[in-house]
């Protein structure tokens, strides 16, 4: 920079604009990444609809989608495969959204819903209303209540709310253990066949999803994703510490509460539909921000990444055979490795 004649030419970033009332900066790399994810999601969706036993040709699939063609094909597409694929995409997106918000709130990649016991709480809630006290309330509500309770437990257990990320992880492990014990208690009361089904759900499974599930996760996404996006600017400020965030015009306690609620509800909706699928909420936001790369929460990119991850994993388990793994077992396996990798990175960082 030359003295006295500083460069004052403002380089306008790429903008998403509409007239005079909308102007959102968008990084070109984020756009490219989002386009890639949409293409991947489309590919996974098409493959999910076609692959399996029996497989469908492109023309048979096209006919069935239009409501023509054979009854078997129509049943396969409309009743079996399409709801399953859409549920996977929706639940994955909700988990990605939840993870992005939580990791930003806690300023910690480990502060994601599966690590801090939130998904375990949601399963306990679902088990409570589905098996222990059946008919108390709908399962989705039970999951949400369980997730909220677990979050409250972590909040109090850490002794400093969400302001102490390291302690949150430990408090989360404790809350997760309590929730898991409750789940086991619920299972022990069941007859064998019921317990078998429940165990599949508790691993995270998308088998047998119906349009009801699609409607639930679709409604949750349509409501929560815009809220998450709207909270983004405030979360970006919170990442710099409460004092500075407040000095810049945010209200830290209120923004944190709102973001926590959105994240908890998104995780609860996903758990209701797909069970406590591991790894997606943890990894999706991290993968998204490393691919772009970007600072601050990226709810939309994390949601897209989560959708592709979960739908892709579900497709893999389905291709493994008719009695294939529950998808959660696959994601948990990969997730364990990834979690260890993250922990090592964190420890390296703090020890230097």
């Amino acid at each position: 920079m030359t003295r006295g004649t500083p460069r004052l030419i403002a380089q306008p970033p790429r903008l998403l604009r509409a007239g005079n009332w909308l102007a959102w900066p968008v990084a070109p790399r984020a756009l490219a990444y989002a386009a890639l994810l949409l293409a991947l999601a489309g590919a996974v969706l098409a493959t999910t609809l076609r692959a399996g036993d029996p497989g469908l040709s492109w023309s048979a699939l096209w006919l069935a989608l239009q409501g023509a063609g054979g009854a078997v094909e129509q049943w396969l597409v409309h009743t079996v495969r399409l709801p399953r694929a859409l549920s996977a995409l929706g639940a994955g997106a909700a988990l990605g959204l939840s993870g992005a918000l939580f990791q930003s709130l806690t300023r910690n990649p480990l502060g994601s819903p599966d690590v801090i016991g939130l998904t375990a709480g949601a399963s306990a809630g679902a088990v409570a209303v589905a098996m222990v006290w059946p008919g108390l309330m709908p399962v989705a509500w039970g999951a949400a209540a369980g997730a909220l309770l677990a979050t409250a437990g972590v909040w109090f257990g850490s002794g400093a709310g969400f302001a102490a990320p390291q302690r949150m992880v430990i408090a989360g492990i404790a809350v997760g253990a309590i929730a898991f014990a409750f789940v086991q208690y619920g299972l022990s009361n069941l007859r064998r066949e019921q317990a078998y089904l429940a165990a599949a759900w508790l691993n995270g499974s998308l088998a047998g999803k119906t349009w009801t599930d699609v409607a639930l996760i679709g409604a949750a996404g349509a409501l929560l994703l815009p809220l998450g996006l709207a909270l983004c600017a405030r979360l970006r400020l919170l990442e710099m510490g409460d004092d500075l965030a407040q000095a810049l015009g945010a209200t830290p306690s209120r923004s944190r509460l709102a973001a926590t609620l959105v994240a908890v509800l998104a995780a609860a909706a996903a758990v209701t539909v797909a069970g406590p699928v591991a790894f997606v909420a943890l990894a999706a936001p991290q993968i998204a921000r490393r691919c772009v790369p970007a600072s601050g929460p990226q709810p939309l990119l994390a949601a897209l990444t989560g959708a592709v991850l979960l739908a892709g994993a579900d497709l893999l388990t389905r291709l493994a055979g008719p009695n294939g793994l529950p998808v959660g077992v696959l994601t948990a396996g990969i997730g364990g490795v990834y979690l260890a990798f993250l922990l090592v990175l964190e420890w390296r960082k703090t020890s230097t």
């Binding site: 920079m1 003295r3 006295g4 500083p6 460069r7 004052l8 030419i9 403002a10 380089q11 306008p12 970033p13 903008l15 009332w21 909308l22 102007a23 959102w24 900066p25 300023r107 709207a230 600017a233 970006r236 400020l237 990442e239 710099m240 510490g241 409460d242 004092d243 500075l244 407040q246 000095a247 810049l248 015009g249 945010a250 209200t251 921000r289 790369p293 970007a294 600072s295 601050g296």
Partner: protein
């Protein structure tokens, strides 16, 4: 640092900040006791005092980050607690002592976060934002580093990046909590020169400083604190005396005119316990 400052005119004429009989305690510990203070518009006020005397707490109350247990803070005569946070942030900037740099953020993106009070949910960018960000980068001599990740910067560069953030905020009053900590003497001088230029351009500054001689050289007013109270306040050249230094810091010293500027210069005596 660049000689010319590219300030948009601070929207309002000189604003003033006031505390009236403010007390504040953390639990049972009183940190501020019955403290009244009027920040002169257009002045560069240094806040000095021994460790733990409540300087940072005073700044947090002035900045609205802490609500006092008793008494009130006023911005232009209106109670700070009753104003909308975003409206306050357009007039009053506050840089705390230990802000957290988000992961993987570039200098320009960090500075751009200072524009939040000027943005709305749907309009998160405007040409004025871009101008203010580039001007703040130029004023802090960071234009060449704008696209570097913050975590690769040196301590001094990082401190300047934070300062650029509050500059971009474009508020008439700036509160800075020990902005020169961790800086070597060269960077301390650069930063204080920048503060002096900001003052000449019409801003009001309240700055907590540790180095007394630099504080008295650059500031025109001083607030001396001890145990949560204001021990002395006023024009630097009138307030800073050997007596005041003894009362506030328990320090036996001589106060001589700075040969460079004529401002008071504190020279501690040997074995100088009070």
């Amino acid at each position: 640092m660049a000689q010319d400052l590219h300030l948009n005119d601070p929207a309002d004429a000189p604003s003033a900040l006031q505390l009236r009989q403010v007390s504040l305690s953390y639990g049972d510990t009183a940190v501020l006791r019955d403290l009244s203070l009027a920040v002169a518009p257009g002045a560069f006020t240094a806040v000095v005092g021994p460790n733990g005397c409540g300087k940072s707490t005073l700044l947090r109350v002035l900045g609205g980050a802490l609500a006092p247990s008793q008494g009130q803070a006023f911005l232009d005569g209106a109670s700070l607690a009753g104003l909308r946070r975003k409206a306050v942030a357009r007039r009053l900037a506050y840089l705390p002592q230990n802000p957290v740099a988000p992961e993987m953020i570039t200098v320009r993106d960090l500075v751009a976060r200072g524009r939040y009070p000027h943005q709305t949910l749907l309009r998160q960018w405007s040409p004025a934002d871009a101008l203010a960000v580039e001007a703040a980068l130029a004023d802090t001599d960071l234009a060449d580093l704008a696209d570097h990740p913050v975590h690769t910067l040196s301590g001094g560069q990082r401190q300047r990046a934070w300062l650029a953030l509050v500059l971009a905020q474009d508020a008439g009053i700036m509160l800075l909590d020990e902005p020169t900590t961790f800086l070597d003497i060269r960077h301390q001088i650069d930063l204080l020169e920048l503060c002096a230029r900001l003052q000449r351009a019409g801003r009001t500054l309240v700055v907590v400083l540790h180095d007394l001689n630099l504080a008295f050289r650059y500031a025109d007013r001083v607030v001396m604190m001890r145990s949560g109270r204001i021990a002395a306040q006023g024009e630097v050249r009138q307030v800073v005396t050997e007596d005041a230094m003894r009362q506030v810091f328990d320090l036996e010293c001589r106060v001589l005119p700075d040969p460079e500027t004529g401002s008071p210069m504190v020279v501690p005596r040997r074995g100088g316990q009070g």
